[in-house]
């Protein structure tokens, strides 16, 4: 019988990772995610895990790179400027096919920006961020309960497909307190099978190498193409999204994370006025729910993307819809909070054709 516990978002994420089998964490303090390393520092030793406050975000991702090479479930976390520092390490992990897990609590940017929650790192999270041809599995929770439960799915996908995985949250979700119900049974790490690529005490087996390079002609091409096969499998099997009131919707809001919560309120407000509004909430940002958008765009004529950025996810939405419907954007960068009223006003303007589309129907 799952119990509900009132937790802060950041702490739920940390606890969720531990329940999913995380036994090594390295991280550096940066607002608004400091509760994650703080929680890990006392909680991990309780379960026999190891915690390090590293000297920088750079060394943290590299500690995780090393630990992941031994097959142990590990995690690092940070926020926007710190995530920028980690990009090389993430690229190496992707190139070495290592299942690392990252907690990313976005704040205002670019640069130092501010310390409040924002959604300005969608591109960084889903478009690589680091160099080279690779993908990360990215999940976007919109409540503290999802923060607590998504790590289990992230580790599952990371180890199954040998890909870095990430929970992409923001400072509001990280700081808010809500009841958490941990849906999955706690992982007993002793029952986890050691991956056949993992380094460790080798008892006479052949040596294993964790690396991301191949200098032979065509070597990296082969490595990347093999990875592409796994990426395609992820796109086929692991897409997740949530829909609300979509069946009769004439305008569909598309939003993830905290913005989706605002959109739920806006949707209810608008419905009371007789507007047929629905919501599509991508849960996996990569793989993106392209197929569902394509399907919806055959019937729905207007999509309004709502995000706390200058407009990043809107590109993926427009790409999927590809001219079959109008795509509009309600963008608010710099960690400024979007209100349901604002979204309703924009919806009005959209339906009255008082605003220019982000991408018009062709």
């Amino acid at each position: 019988m799952a119990e509900k516990k009132l937790m802060k978002g950041n702490e739920a994420l940390a606890e969720g990772a531990i329940r999913a089998g995380c036994r090594f964490f390295a991280g550096y303090p940066i607002t608004p995610q400091n509760e994650i390393p703080e929680y890990m520092s006392w909680r991990l030793p309780q379960v026999g895990g190891a915690f390090i406050q590293s000297e920088s975000e750079v060394s943290a991702i590299n500690m995780v790179y090393g630990a992941a090479g031994t097959g142990v479930r590990c995690m690092t976390s940070s926020s926007s400027p710190g995530m920028s520092l980690k990009q090389e390490g993430i690229s190496y992990a992707a190139g070495a096919d290592l299942p690392i897990f990252i907690g990313n609590v976005m704040r205002g940017g670019p640069g130092l920006g501010n310390i409040a929650g924002a959604q300005g790192d969608y591109w960084q999270a889903t478009r690589g961020g680091g160099h080279g041809d690779y993908r990360c599995f990215v999940m976007a929770p919109n409540c503290v309960s999802e923060l607590g439960n998504f790590p289990t799915k992230c580790y599952e996908v990371a180890f199954k497909y040998r890909i870095p995985s990430m929970v992409l949250a923001d400072g509001i979700l990280g700081q808010m307190m809500e009841p958490v119900e941990f849906k999955y049974p706690e992982v007993d790490v002793k029952t986890l099978k050691e991956p056949e690529w993992a380094m460790g005490v080798n008892n006479g087996r052949a040596k294993r190498i964790i690396k991301s390079y191949d200098l032979k002609e065509g070597g990296v091409e082969i490595m990347v193409n093999e990875r592409v096969k796994r990426y395609k499998a992820i796109e086929e099997n692991e897409v997740a999204y949530e829909e609300k009131m979509i069946e009769d919707a004439e305008i569909v809001l598309v939003a993830y994370g905290i913005s989706s919560r605002v959109c739920v309120a806006a949707m209810k407000q608008a419905r009371e006025k007789g507007l047929k509004v629905g919501l599509l909430r991508p849960i996996t940002l990569w793989p993106f729910p392209k197929a569902r958008l394509i399907e919806l765009s055959k019937r729905v004529k207007n999509f309004l993307v709502v995000e706390m950025s200058l407009g990043q996810m809107v590109e993926d939405v427009a790409l999927a819809i590809n001219g079959r419907a109008n795509v509009h954007l309600h963008a608010k960068p710099g960690a400024s909070v979007i209100t349901a009223d604002e979204v309703c006003k924009t919806m009005d303007k959209v339906l009255k054709k008082e605003v220019k589309e982000y991408a018009a129907v062709k």
């Binding site: 036994r23 090594f24 390295a26 190891a50 390090i52 590293s54 000297e55 920088s56 750079v58 060394s59 943290a60 590299n62 500690m63 995780v64 790179y65 090393g66 630990a67 992941a68 090479g69 031994t70 142990v72 590990c74 090389e88 390490g89 190496y92 070495a96 380094m199 460790g200 005490v201 080798n202 008892n203 006479g204 040596k207 294993r208 190498i209 964790i210 690396k211 991301s212 390079y213």
Partner: protein, 253 residues
């Protein structure tokens, strides 16, 4: 007739790519012999750097990981904390350790991480074609200081053993050389001690090995005395050999 020198099991019997007269091959062999003699091959994990020794992951006959430039000590930390039953070494050049990886090596020593670091100091950048290193000597020419290193432009060479010796967490620091036989013998003794320290749980050990780079020093590849002379007369006065720290780590919880 008996063969006196068997090929070490901890080094694969393959041709290595290093230049003629480069010190890496000597140091690889020493590390491998030590691994054999201590019987740790089956539980050793080595971290290969970025630099000429990037291919160390192919040469050593144990589990190996190759990662980003300078981050070896961080990777080693992650490996050792995740699997404390393993013996972990980080093998690095002077760019990897003393330039881009300066924070990592310092903090790994601060944490007294129970690992072994092999620091190959040849006062120049090899793989990228001979640029200045943090350990390049005053007046020494490199492709990014063609008239020789000057203090105004680039400061002074860094002495890593001396600097790390100020850190309480650094347990054992020694500087040796491989430019002559006596040096090779001392290097092996030092590296053996550095690995034994790890087996005994004593904390952070590093051996800084002065090494030759004939290609980028511009010394003759067919006359090793020019390169060995540069070590003996140029490097030794700036990087004196010896033990810079030898202490058991303080009470470790």
């Amino acid at each position: 007739m008996q063969l006196l020198n068997k090929h070490p099991e901890s080094l694969l019997d393959v041709k290595m790519h290093y230049c003629p007269g480069c010190g890496h091959g000597i140091i690889h062999r020493i590390v491998a012999e030590v691994m054999d003699e201590l019987g740790i091959r089956n539980r050793t994990i080595g971290v290969a750097p970025v630099g000429c020794a990037v291919f160390a992951d192919t040469y050593f006959n144990c589990d190996m990981i190759q990662g980003p430039h300078g981050r070896g000590p961080a990777e080693a930390t992650g490996i050792k904390r995740a699997k404390p039953e393993t013996i972990v070494f980080s093998y690095q050049g002077d760019g990897d350790l003393a330039s881009i990886g300066m924070a990592e090596i310092v903090h790994t020593a601060i944490r007294s991480e129970n690992i072994t670091v092999i620091f190959v100091n040849n006062a120049i950048y090899g793989m990228t074609g001979g640029q200045m290193a943090p350990t390049t000597l005053m007046g020494q020419k490199a492709t990014t200081c063609v008239d020789g290193r000057s203090a105004k432009q680039a400061g002074y060479p860094i002495r890593m053993c001396e600097m790390l010796a100020t850190i309480d967490g650094a347990t054992y620091l020694e500087r040796t050389t491989v430019h002559n036989n006596a040096g090779v013998l001392k290097t092996k003794a030092a590296i053996k001690k550095a690995f034994q320290n790890q087996i005994d749980g004593k904390g952070f050990s590093m051996v800084e090995v002065l090494s030759m780079c004939p290609t980028n020093w511009g010394t003759r590849l067919d006359n090793p005395s020019e390169a060995t002379k540069f070590v003996a007369e140029g490097m030794l006065p700036v990087f004196p050999l010896g033990v810079y720290k030898d202490a058991c780590a303080a009470d470790k919880k």
